[in-house]
Amino acid sequence: MSDVVTAVPLKRTPLYRLHLDLGGRMVPFAGYEMPVQYPSGILKEHLHVRAAAGLFDVSHMGQFEIRSRTGGEDAARALESIVPMDIVGLAPGRQRYALLTNEDGGVRDDLMIARLGEVFLVVANAGCKDADESYLRQTVSPTCTIERLDDRALLALQGPAAEAALARLAPDVRSMRFMDVRAMEVMDVACTVSRSGYTGADGFEISLPASHAEAVARALLANGDVAMIGLGARDSLRLEAGLCLYGSDLDATTTPVEAGLEWSIQKVRRAGNRAGNFPGAEKILRQLANGAPRRRVGLRPEGRAPIRHGARLFADQGAADAIGVVTSGGFGPSVNAPIAMGYVTPPGALAGGTIYADLRGARVPLRLSELPFISTTYKR
């Protein structure tokens, strides 16, 4: 029996049956069986989110509750010891984008951290949640309890029609602004709702008990404006919005400064009595002061061919040495053109505005582009 291989079965979210009912094409993703698309296809699903509203199952992501063991600000201070963000100053009912850093100033994962009463709710990437849990237990557990919320689902509702659709079930959402977080009842179910997302559009993320996820999802889908959207369109939407994907645009070797995420490091962590004291602080603070040797940039290939993750970048058509690499690349349905993001060294090489990528043995030009590629519509 030496050559018998036991495959680890893929996990399923609470909405698995709904995905099959809706004709979802299921693929492996981060150890889960997830829908990459539904019968409409990725292009139509993407455009529907920008025009109306899309509902996404993101229950594969990690959800954690972190509390001080003895009350007070211990949890906030403990979190500040592992992220370069202002958590002590995060007001109740507010959420913040955060980065778990490592000793080299690189990124272990990117997260959302929300303060709701005595609790911090942390949402982590599916592919990192096990490692993140171990890391949290290693670092903050002396002063904090850490609860992993495996009995909760997570839905994202995104697009200009999202507010109206969710307000029919929870009128309170109309008064929420971008990055607000509230506990509220949706169809008599206790949920945590944030006004945020991963598409560049206005929208909400709804954390709720797994047992009620399908009912709430079906109620939202009963609204003609709301369509179920797969992971394929989720990726093209976030790329158009210039948002990083951990594992592609962010990893253990990229610092927040190289990634263009300096805005997420609040001033109180750069200078003063709460400056530094997070992993990689010396390198990150030095890069904030002096600049980073490489930068994440937006790229617009000339022509219609997508340039994808891994394509090497060059300063000109004949250059022998690469100046960078594409980290995310594909097609943007709303811009109706190929789009990409990558890292370029040194940033000074960008003076000309045009660089080149290897594509099937030829060098093709790309123009440097501002990020995002589309106008975001966050309700600020």
């Binding site: 990459v36 990725i42 292009l43 394929g232 997508p306």
Partner: protein, 125 residues
Amino acid sequence: MLKFTQDHEWLSVEGDTATIGITQHAQEQLGDLVFVELPKPGRSVDAGGAAAVVESVKAASDVYAPIAGEIVEINQGVVDDPSLVNADPMGKGWLFKMKIADRSQVEALMDEQAYRTLIDSAESA
């Protein structure tokens, strides 16, 4: 006469010219196409050689020449609008035409019945 390959290309013969495209099954599997790269007319290809590229939102796929021959015409329509391949893969979504170098290579390809069996067994696997 309509023939098929294991890689989900179809080939249709008129005289000594073959028209090549990808099948309904292929376009369904690939999803929405956003880019098509076709070979230059005049180029010679070997049987099984990569002749064209179709790109969906997610990935690029090679299209292989089912037989050896010379590319004589390409379908500019699909270059201008890749969605044509999804909408009508067996008709208006044709990719390129070739002059047939060796007729016996055409005979050796799968007929429609054999191709259906192939995709039915793949779908029930």
